[in-house]
């Protein structure tokens, strides 16, 4: 069995001390599956120990329970934030390494197989026809960067491209970019998944394919900047693509980072009063994965009349929405419960709306609101910002 170095080296280093279970200094739960199921094996420490068991031959990847423990992690990296022992990031690296081992051994989850088949057929994990990817932008008169030059490429990502209820974020983003006079284009139907979700479920081969494709496409288009609305996409471009040693001739910014920049440079101004009390949810991939905490708050604070109230678990100590790491597809009940926990926390602030900056988070919060009968509206920052123009 081929064991990734990170698994071999670090799965013996977990002391099982339990630091990963709660946010240090807040003393509040940090791990969604651990907090829901309680048994050790659902926490980071349990998964790392499972890694040791697999290496020792005491546990097998073919065991459905082993697979379930490995795949109920949302890869939110809250454990990595808390752990005082392992070098930062290594816990989720170990878990993802174990998932890669499982895939190599032919041990996969049916829900993930569907995602991979969809990727291969449609270039997205949502089982949506590839041809429909650019439909959201019909009638906007946007240039296609494959044929026309543009300084900035806007990347809607899978969810905003295919889910009609989520398209508002992409449209709002374009409205903002145009209002700031940005020379922007899109890939339209040629846009492809970032491949990050494939990486997270252990499908490294698929991930590499998309990383190479996307880097080549944006390099060939000659754009200086790729702006993404998806926090997952941002962190995969920034953290995973760079591991491949492929040259990227462009920078990648999340929409909130770019908005922050445009506002700072006075290329964009908000003029409409928005008398709304909101709380902000830090997406794990934007926050803990990419370290972007201030930009979204800077943008929100510039909106006239808008009041930002913070949840106790915020920034590095943010509770996950539950959608990441392939959990939403394979374990929807866990995913929705995790989101509902966050909605309850948001409600406790007295906010009239929950704002975030990741379509996966937004989508999962909306699904959880439906499931649990919540009436707290959920917005992407771009939607609120566009209303304030």
């Amino acid at each position: 069995m081929d064991i990734p170095d990170v698994v071999r080296e670090w799965s013996v280093r977990c002391s099982q001390c339990g630091d990963c279970k709660i946010f240090a200094s807040l003393f509040l739960p940090s791990c969604p599956p651990g907090h829901m199921f309680k048994f050790n094996s659902y926490y980071a420490t349990g998964r790392i120990v499972i890694g040791r068991g697999i290496q020792e031959g005491a546990l097998a990847l073919e065991d459905e329970d082993v697979l379930e423990r490995l795949h109920t992690c949302t890869a939110c990296r809250a454990c990595d934030e808390n752990c005082g022992n392992l070098i930062k990031g290594h816990i989720v690296d170990v878990i993802e390494g174990l998932r890669q081992m499982a895939v190599s051994a032919g041990c996969t989850l049916p829900a993930h197989d569907i995602m991979v088949q969809s990727l291969k057929k449609n270039d997205n994990v949502l089982e949506k026809p590839k041809e429909e990817r650019g439909d959201w932008a019909q009638g906007l008169g946007l240039r296609n960067i494959a044929t026309d030059r543009a300084d900035v490429a806007y990347r809607a990502g899978c969810l905003l491209s295919f889910d009609p209820e989520m398209r508002g974020t992409a449209l709002a983003s374009l409205k903002l970019l145009r209002a700031a006079g940005v020379d922007v284009g899109i890939e339209g139907k040629d846009e492809a998944c970032c491949g990050g979700r494939a990486y997270e479920i252990g499908q490294v081969g698929e991930f590499i394919k998309y990383a190479e494709h996307n880097i080549e496409a944006y390099n060939n288009a000659g754009v200086s900047t790729v702006v993404v609305s998806c926090a997952d996409g941002l962190s995969h471009f920034r953290s995973l693509y760079t591991k491949l040693n492929l040259k990227m001739n462009f920078r990648v910014l999340h929409m909130v980072e770019y908005l922050d920049l445009l506002l700072e440079e006075d290329r964009l101004r908000f003029t409409v009063d928005m008398p709304l009390k909101v709380t902000y949810h830090d997406p794990c991939h934007l926050g803990r994965h990419a370290g972007v905490y201030d930009s979204p708050r800077n943008v929100l604070r510039r909106i006239p009349g808008l009041e930002l109230v913070e949840m106790e678990r915020r920034r590095e100590h943010s509770w996950c929405c539950g959608a990441g790491g392939g959990v939403k597809q394979a374990y929807p009940a866990l995913s929705l419960w995790t989101a509902e926990e966050r909605i309850k926390e948001a409600r406790a602030t007295g906010a009239a709306a929950l704002v975030t900056s990741c379509p996966w988070c937004q989508s999962n919060f909306r699904d959880a609101a439906l499931e649990y009968g919540e009436d707290l509206p959920v917005y992407d920052i771009a939607e609120i910002a566009a209303m304030a123009l």
């Binding site: 977990c14 099982q16 001390c17 003393f27 048994f39 120990v49 499972i50 068991g53």
Partner: protein
């Protein structure tokens, strides 16, 4: 356990606690089979999470009927292999029972269930009771208040409080045969305020490592959090002057804690004159894995030991603090006359109480110790014999000494961090710890949170009448020997 019996027990457990709170799944069992120590893992047959006293009673009655071992468990972060189920059976994970039963601000005590942990209490202090404090250990925030106290754990108020077992006012216990009993003032009144003056039966459950019953509620004393504090850190050359000063400072009773430690650094040439800016930097500079592996065996260069002495003083007023610090100065000058020492600036000192409970500190995966309590007057003598044992096994010297309750007795803890991926290192650590235990016992130091092999050694050495009494008590409370077998009361020496 026979397959049919196992299936029947599993079904009954599910009826008692609900199917989602019991497991016999292999990854679950494996993750409860081991801990951070060098002890060999042993698999349990089931892990059960009760949610109420009635469920605990149900589990114990079933286990008693079927003679299935039961190991009480909270968060599993002990350093003694205490929850490794030596004879299999049920791990009774108590973390679902995490309720605060009573917070009595006026009489300064708290009644909680076993799943209530250090972090929960610290959060309550932060939110509502900034004037109160607890003897928090330098342990993870998930550490159970109940387990810590029952196992004679201690925190940062040791020179006032002693161990946290000394903090206990009362207990509610489910006996191995399923009856519920309350001990302390709560046994005859509705108050959980005090432990004396009744015959003290709480001792039947203290230090027994769960071998006599399952504690389901505990009342613990709270302490004032003083507004004026100061920490001083001295680096002293030589074991004897450091140990003597620690003992004397304990006896003055002006300190919340006096902690005397000696840790050989992973990188002997690491620059210790600069503060670490972050945990990552600390890891890289002192515990960098690559460096650590190079130093898998340590050959200590000759020369005197450098000992650290951390002294924490607290007071109600600035004047009181000044007076205490002045007295401290007098003692330090008197005891260290002619002895080389330096005082570290505050920025280089240890973490303040704000950081408690503490995180991290075990970057190699392995941590074990021979933790003992005994006469502070024999610290130096014992340590001078123990350090060569570390050298013999080519391990890093590491000891901590702390006086308890005004220095009437004290802790001598011989610690070792080790890399779990190296079987040779693990084996050396195991042998070293066993040899150290004997030296400690020879000098009057008795192990707490004792691993089974340390209990066996005490039974071998101990007064036969004491051993017999332990065995009789265990038999009386636990006739079928289901509670954490292979430990106290189940080893005759």
């Amino acid at each position: 356990m026979e397959v049919e019996v196992k299936r029947m027990v599993m079904e009954e457990l599910a009826k008692i606690v609900g199917g989602e709170h019991v497991t016999d799944s292999r990854p679950d069992l494996y993750s409860y089979s081991r801990d951070m120590t060098e002890h060999e893992p042993t698999w349990p047959d089931f892990v059960v999470m009760p949610g109420s006293v009635a469920e605990v009673q149900g589990v114990l009655r079933l286990a008693n009927r079927e003679k299935v071992p039961v190991v009480p468990y909270t968060y599993g972060d002990n350093v003694g292999g205490l929850t490794i189920p030596i004879k299999g059976g049920i791990i009774l994970d108590m973390r679902r029972m995490d309720r605060l039963i009573e917070f009595n601000e006026e009489d300064r005590y708290i009644v909680v269930e076993p799943g209530f942990n250090f972090g929960d209490l610290r959060r309550m202090f932060n939110e509502k009771y900034p004037h109160l404090w607890y003897s928090f250990a330098g342990a993870p925030a998930t550490t159970s208040l109940t387990s810590n106290a029952l196992l004679n754990g201690f925190g940062r108020l040791t020179n006032i409080v002693g161990t946290n077992a000394d903090n206990i006012n009362g207990l509610e216990v489910v006996l191995p045969t399923g009856e519920v009993v309350r001990l302390g003032s709560c046994s005859v009144t509705d108050s959980w305020c005090n432990r004396p003056p009744l015959p003290d039966l709480i001792g039947l459950f203290l230090g027994w490592q769960g071998a006599t019953g399952v504690v389901t509620k505990i009342s613990l004393q709270l302490w004032p959090r003083y507004p004026f504090k100061q920490t001083r850190t001295l680096i002293i050359t030589g074991i004897r002057p450091a140990c003597t000063l620690a003992r004397k400072l304990g006896q003055t009773r002006i300190c919340e804690i006096v902690e005397c430690w000696s840790f050989e650094r992973a990188q002997p040439d690491a620059d210790t004159t600069k503060a670490f800016q972050s945990e990552e930097e600390r890891q890289l500079r002192v515990y960098t894995p690559a460096e650590e592996r190079k130093a898998g065996t340590v050959d200590r260069p000759p020369g005197p030991d450098r000992m650290g002495l951390v002294i924490k003083v607290a007071a109600d007023s600035e004047d009181e603090l000044k007076a205490k610090l002045a007295l401290l100065d007098v003692e330090i000058k008197a005891e260290l006359k002619g002895i080389p020492f330096e005082e570290l600036p505050k920025s280089l000192g240890p973490a303040e109480e704000e950081d408690l409970p503490a995180a991290g500190g075990v970057p190699l995966g392995g941590l074990t110790w021979v933790g003992t309590m005994g006469p502070t007057s024999r610290w130096a003598e014992a340590l001078e014999k123990i350090y060569p044992v570390y050298d013999k096994y080519r391990l890093r010297r590491a000891a901590v000494m702390v006086p308890f309750r005004g220095g009437h007795y004290g802790m001598l803890r011989l610690v070792e961090q080790f890399y779990k991926g190296d079987p040779d290192e693990v084996a050396r650590v195991a042998k070293c710890m066993r040899e150290i235990l004997n030296v400690a016992l020879d000098h009057g130091f008795v192990p707490y949170k004792a691993p089974h092999w340390a209990i066996a050694e005490m039974m071998r050495r101990g007064d036969p009448a004491w051993v017999e009494l332990l065995t009789r008590l265990k038999k009386m409370l636990d006739p079928n020997n289901i509670m954490n077998p292979g430990r106290y009361g189940d080893i005759k020496g």
